[in-house]
Assembly symmetry: C2
Homo-oligomer: 426 residues x 2
């Protein structure tokens, strides 16, 4: 890690380390390392964690989930290819700086407009990862090939079909560029997107932004707002073969994407008020899992294998036909798996008509799931899986998909290069 | 702390303690104590902190700020005084349980609808505090004295006047009951309000809910989204005399409020995009403080005294006439002080017309401040202070007050009693 020469910034970084030392015993020795938490024997203060920005893959895809996210989609407003390249270079430098706990650019000594809002001064890197993606609009925009990239659009970067029950809002859907920042602190995550968006003024415009969070005892599967453990059946990020098979792109038509991934984001509102009044036994039938243990119905432990053929004494399926785990399981999806890395969201309240009798009009939570899924190809991953879920999942009576987007997230960056360089270097 | 007999709940609590022990060295010994962090010599895992629910004052008022909040206002929909009393008793029991890391009610052994959504199972108490307040509508509702309480309405519980520039949205304003949950975890804070609101089904209806967060090196003044330290000039909660003078209610017309406080909540949207383009020197003139150090302009350190009479060599005021710190300072407000305990909020993006040239229509952040201020009397606290700010504060060009509410937060509860008992026991 390079030490920057800017005195105020260094002072703040030192202050942050000192504050962390006072908070978390045993954490200081790891403050400047890139070692993920799970590999550490000593506890580490989550505010002092540092994730590497440069690498074979982008950070924030197989990185153990941090406690907060800010996901944003931006639209390109320029017609100039060089503007896009220039912005990606600027973003690469800034993302690398912020990932190590620094400001987006060096702070000037004078009183002029600073290139950083400064709200993270004194905080640590907080495990910040910044993940970039390219939406269909980078390649084709209203039928035009703005940047000479149309021929390089990967076949896997499809426009998502309309799914049964979709209620997509334009202001929560689509986008030419994805920026997902994840960190162990809400302000650190938002700060990253805010600085990057500001740097793109005149080249990109914000399309939508969304904060999210995740609560869970570290190292255990967290529970989402439905009270169920979410992510149990993810392919293991500790197994590179699984990641190569299901997560990392490697299609011959777009070699610039090798080592990248395709990312689907869905904003799924959950009618928590309705869900909360359901019997626990019914909730478990919907999910196909026991609520408290996380085990498949009829099993004891969370990670017990899902037995989709199990039947009770009357011959009925133990895991219900239209339960979420059955419909989303690889066994019923031609072996397809996707790496889910979702966050809960909580945007206060809004005015809705209830989805259940007596269908009152009332103020309800605008809360739910920012579903984020990574895969080597959405045509064999999210699309067929969600097609079945959208048609048959019992959970649909409690959920509404109100936002949707798909992005090609290029591979990681090596120092001296920039994000997505392979796409532009023909 | 009483040990409950419900096995699943105990199991989860134990799991939470074990997970915490793996995370924060030195924290276990303090897991079950009520000692606030600042009094501890050993570091403590924020997820394992427990704040006492019972006491002379309600928790969450002078409690050191946790990292997350969920603030909600509910409207009473019943005409029956006994319904209100019954709900307050139910809420008291549930709040005491949740404050020690437990579910809102014991979980039943059968598969029936559980009285708790279960999303906090395995998490600790996370320093949860739950603060209740009574809005004007508890005393008078559309000209009617629904519960026989009109004569007991404290004179200090005034309806707030309209302030210059107010752009209040009905769906973010008012409410008969305040519930503010604060915790070191977003899910724990929201969980508390969600269970309490659900228990009130048929008696109360949600009016508005709002999530918030606070980032800062623990023990230092946190920076808000404007990048400035926020709360430096608060009266010290370590000085009981100051709290008695400025925070705790003690008016003779409403002895049932003695030891309580009056709480103003304002949802203040900040045009961050606009603010970020301002020169730092100008931002500091707006605030009246140095951005990086937090010191008053012209001083070195954050806690240096504010010298409102200081002038430069040309005789100009060093702290500008219309700066935020001058207008809000006690010296310019007849000595009035309020205890601010605000959180940032971040509800993604929405469509706005810019407040600055060229006044484009565009997608912007719906982010800002959930301003929360406690005081012994709003008529000498928030109202005159905000009246001046609303008229003259240079910051107004970056802020819009879109939500507002005022509540009488009764004193704390003693075990065996219930929140607000003094109001109903005539």
């Amino acid at each position: 890690m390079a030490i920057d020469q800017d005195p105020p910034r260094r002072r703040f970084l030192k202050a942050g380390v000192a504050a962390g030392a006072a908070l978390g015993a045993g954490s200081v020795a790891h403050a400047a390392t890139n070692t993920p938490l799970k590999q550490l024997k000593q506890p580490v203060d989550p505010m002092l964690m540092v994730e590497p920005f440069f690498g074979e893959h982008q950070a924030g895809i197989v990185t153990p989930q941090q406690s907060h996210t800010y996901v944003a989609a931006l639209d390109l407003t320029t017609d100039k290819r060089d503007d896009v390249i220039g912005l990606l270079k600027t973003w690469t430098d800034a993302a690398a700086r912020m990932s190590r706990g620094d400001t987006a650019k060096p702070l000037p000594a004078d009183d002029k407009a600073a290139p950083d809002s400064g709200d993270i001064l004194g905080l640590g890197a907080a495990g910040l990862t910044i993940t970039f993606g390219f939406g269909p609009g980078l390649f084709t925009h209203e039928g035009r090939d703005r940047y000479g990239l149309e021929k390089r659009r990967p076949a896997a970067l499809v426009d998502l079909p309309r799914f049964n029950g979709d209620q997509l809002l334009p202001q929560k859907t689509g986008g030419d560029i994805l920026i997902q920042a994840c960190a162990n602190d809400a302000q650190v995550a938002f700060h990253a997107v805010r600085q990057l968006a500001r740097m793109g003024y005149g080249i990109v415009a914000m399309r939508w932004g969304q904060a999210g969070f995740l609560s869970g005892p570290r190292g255990q599967t967290p529970r989402n707002l439905m009270g169920f453990k979410d992510g149990t059946n993810n392919p293991s990020t500790a197994q590179p073969a699984l990641m190569n098979q299901f997560v990392w792109a490697n299609a011959p038509d777009a070699p610039w994407m090798n080592g990248g991934t395709y990312t689907v984001v869905r904003r799924i509102r959950i009618t928590l008020e309705h869900w909360d009044t359901m019997e626990r036994g019914f909730q478990e039938q919907v999910m196909g899992r026991e609520k408290y243990s996380g085990a498949p119905i009829g099993k004891k432990n969370e990670f017990d294998a899902l037995d989709l053929d199990a039947a009770d004494k009357d011959g009925n399926q133990v895991i219900p036909e239209n339960s979420h785990v059955r419909l989303s399981n690889q066994a019923t999806n031609n072996g397809a798996q996707i790496l889910r890395r979702s966050y809960s969201y909580n945007d206060g309240t809004d005015f809705y008509i209830e989805r259940w009798p007596p269908w009152r009009q009332e103020t309800e939570y605008d809360a739910g799931l920012i579903f984020v899924a990574h895969q080597s190809d959405p045509r064999t991953g999210f699309i067929p899986i969600n097609d079945r879920l959208a048609k048959f999942d019992m959970m649909n009576q409690f959920t509404t998909h109100v936002g949707s987007a798909v992005f090609a997230c290029p591979p990681g960056v090596r120092p001296g290069s920039f994000i997505g360089a392979g796409l532009f270097e023909a």
